[in-house]
């Protein structure tokens, strides 16, 4: 379980507060108007923005002061999820060891992960030689191999077309169900939330509200959400 205990996150002067818990294995969409603090919330959980008050707890362990790499989570950003000068296999291999010192078995593991996201035989290519959707798949292969219990998505598929985006969301859904990972996903499209989320965290005016079941919330939105949905 991920507990945000009276958490206040600072993003260059903008603060966001959150005080709730998320059950393990849930898929949670974070929605709200742009500038409300969705990315701040997820960046704070990942360790990229300082926590100025409260605590962040995962499975009873305090994560509040850990550096980003030492948290039990994998994250996909809006952009820049692959190193352009490394091959796909190397990019995925970083998920096992950031020094890229891998043995034969680990390289086979990398190959398996690449195949698992549908990129068989493309491990030797550089990211620039892949389409946008294939790049997303490669980044997901690394997330898969990182094998962290918590997966944070900061709108990594926003630049893809609707069909491709849905394909990626379904892939995330499938991978998360296979590994049992907890997923936190920033989105500004309620359709994304409806597609894979169990619960929704509404972020508005610097406050992240406690998660609520997705379908009922979207069917009968409270005023703040209705204002956003239009």
């Amino acid at each position: 379980m991920l507990r945000l205990e009276k958490l206040v996150i600072d993003n260059g002067g903008f603060t966001l507060s959150a005080d709730f818990a998320i059950e393990a294995g849930r898929k949670v969409a974070i929605i709200g108007p742009s500038g409300a603090g969705k990315s701040t919330l997820i960046g704070g959980i990942a360790g990229f923005h300082p926590v100025v008050a409260g605590r962040l707890i995962w499975d009873g362990k305090d994560l509040t002061d850990r550096p980003p790499g030492a948290r039990p989570l994998a994250m996909l950003f809006q952009d820049g999820n692959l190193f352009p000068h490394l091959t796909i296999a190397q990019n995925v291999g970083l998920g096992l060891n950031p020094n890229l010192r891998l043995d034969g078995m680990q390289w086979r593991q990398v190959e398996t992960a690449i195949a698992h996201v549908g990129l068989q035989g493309m491990g030797a290519r550089k990211p620039a030689a892949l389409s946008g959707g294939q790049q997303s798949r490669a980044a997901l292969a690394r997330v898969l191999i990182q094998d962290r219990p918590l997966l944070l998505l900061d709108e990594p598929f926003a630049a893809l077309g609707p069909a491709l985006k849905n394909e990626m969301l379904d892939l995330v859904d499938r991978l998360a169900s296979e590994t049992g990972a907890t997923v936190l996903m920033v989105s500004h499209d309620p359709q994304d939330a409806r597609r894979i989320a169990d619960e929704i965290v509404l972020v508005a005016d610097g406050i992240a509200h406690a998660p609520q079941p997705a379908a009922p919330l979207l069917d009968d939105p409270p005023p703040a959400l209705r204002a956003y949905l239009g």
Partner: protein, 497 residues
């Protein structure tokens, strides 16, 4: 055209029939060797300094990085005096060694030349490499941090590939700069074992008045520097590190105490190496400021005049060239700019001398020629400053101006020049400061009556009037900085963005 004319004059005058003597070959070997050493040391030292500056945020960091730009307009003769005050026979270190019963440092010769070149080029190398570091997008560091990369993994993943791209270009640039070094070799080198080609040209001129030999040496110099400049240009091109959104870089891998202490020590050492000689100049020179000889005052007037004219010529040449390049008509113009990089002051000076010698007494023209040659030297830098600005203005406002029917002079006067004020001021300031501090072509032309301030400092040094030399150096440094500051500020005054 001016450069080409000078080069052709040199080529025609060169006495190829006689061939090169052993001392000429020695000069070529020494020139290449010292430039290679200087480049290696500068870059090797710049890498850790740049890394420390890239990883740390501390009060005064911006100031320090701004100061790293200063040696570019630091008059070489001032730097040499400062280095002598610290590393010379009677310098601080030698005095300390003497107190410990050890012999004083010997600064003249190859190692002195290399020391001065490293002093002058370490800041440039550091800035170029730091730029490489800063061009790694923050997103990459963020991604690497998310993957748990420590300092070693950061090095393998991001920093080493970046250096493979950036360092060769920096090496080539420093190498090319050191190839044409004259003032350093004149003051710290000399003798058969430490003579650069530039110095050999000067000696052939002043002592033997052997124009043929000077011209021949000039030809060799042109070939050498031309090749080096071409290599430098080719190598400094790279496709970079992919785009980022300029998020501020945060480094989670460098927070352990060992890295902190190491980076701190490196920064302190570099700052000390760069600042102590300048401090030494000020300490020994300030006292003598009040009793400067009249010759220094006259030389100062000459220098300011030369610098002002030189800055004007630079702008008159560079602005049309920059606009031409920005409009895409620039292949020839860029070639001309390259020529400016490849030709050295003494080579062009030799060319002019050869041309005017049959007509008038060259000493009459010493100051105008100095201003002109200085302007040509500053041209490549002015172009590098002005071209991006001109491009940006034309890209942003060109279409709008066309729809309004603005073209030609109105566009120039109403849009281009006002929008480029900051760059024009910067280019003018740089050009004036470079000219103010230049000790090159003036040595060929001047007689004992005429001098610029750097030449006067050199003469005082030669006469062992070190206190007066230091005082004049303080004056020179202050004037250079003041000129630069004035013009640069003037350009930015009320200029938005």
């Amino acid at each position: 055209m001016l450069i080409l004319g000078a080069l052709i004059a040199v080529a025609l005058r060169a006495e190829t029939g006689r061939g090169m003597g052993p001392s000429d070959w020695a000069a070529v070997r020494f020139t290449v060797f010292q430039a290679a050493l200087s480049a290696l040391f500068s870059v090797a030292l710049a890498v850790p300094v740049a890394r420390a500056l890239a990883r740390r945020r501390f009060p005064g960091r911006r100031l320090l990085i701004a100061l790293l730009g200063a040696p570019f307009i630091l008059p070489v003769i001032v730097a040499v005096l400062g280095l002598l005050a610290v590393f010379g026979r009677n310098g601080w270190i030698s005095v300390a060694l003497g107190a410990a019963g050890l012999p004083p440092l010997q600064v003249y010769g190859l190692h002195g030349v290399v020391l001065a070149h490293v002093f002058l080029n370490l800041p440039l190398a550091t800035r170029l490499i730091l730029q490489g570091w800063q061009e790694i997008p923050a997103e990459r560091f963020r991604l690497a941090a998310q993957l748990g990369a420590g300092p070693h993994a950061m090095w393998r993943l991001l920093e080493r590939p970046m250096l493979w791209q950036v360092a060769p270009g920096v090496l080539a640039v420093v190498f090319a700069i050191c190839l044409t070094s004259f003032a350093v070799a004149l003051t710290l080198g000399g003798g058969p074992r430490a003579t650069t080609i530039e110095l050999a040209i000067y000696q052939a001129f002043r002592f033997d008045f052997d124009l043929g030999r000077a011209a021949l040496l000039s030809c060799i110099q042109i070939v050498l520097t031309g090749m080096a400049a071409m290599i430098a240009l080719r190598m400094s091109r790279g496709d970079g590190f992919g785009g980022g959104l300029d998020r501020p870089v945060q480094r989670w891998d460098a927070r352990n105490p060992v890295a902190r202490v190491l980076d701190g020590a490196i920064i302190l050492f570099a700052a000390g190496f760069l600042l102590l000689p300048l401090a030494a100049i000020f300490l020994s020179g300030l006292g003598g400021l009040a009793k400067l000889p009249a010759s220094v005052i006259a030389a100062t007037m000459n220098s300011v005049l030369v610098a002002a004219i030189s800055a004007l010529i630079t702008l008159a040449l560079a602005l049309p060239m920059a606009v031409a390049v920005a409009l895409g008509r620039g292949a020839f113009v860029e070639f001309a700019g390259l020529l400016g990089l490849a030709a050295s002051p003494l080579v062009i000076g030799t060319g002019f001398f050869v041309v005017v010698y049959p007509l008038v007494n060259p000493t009459v023209l010493s100051l105008p020629v100095t201003a002109l040659v200085n302007a040509l030297m500053a041209l490549p830098f002015a172009l590098r400053i002005l071209v991006p600005g001109a491009r940006q203005v034309i890209e942003r406002s060109g279409r709008l101006a066309l729809t309004l029917g603005m073209a030609g002079r109105p566009f120039l006067r109403r849009i281009l020049l006002p929008r480029m004020r900051a760059q024009i001021g910067f280019a003018a300031g740089l050009s004036a400061a470079l000219s103010m501090g230049d000790l090159g072509v003036i040595t060929l032309f001047a007689d004992s009556e005429q001098a610029t301030l750097p030449l006067q400092v050199f003469r005082l040094m030669g006469a062992y009037q070190m206190e007066a030399a230091a005082a004049a150096a303080v004056l020179l440094l202050s004037m250079s900085m003041a000129l630069f500051w004035l013009l640069d500020r003037g350009g930015r005054w009320h200029a938005e963005a």
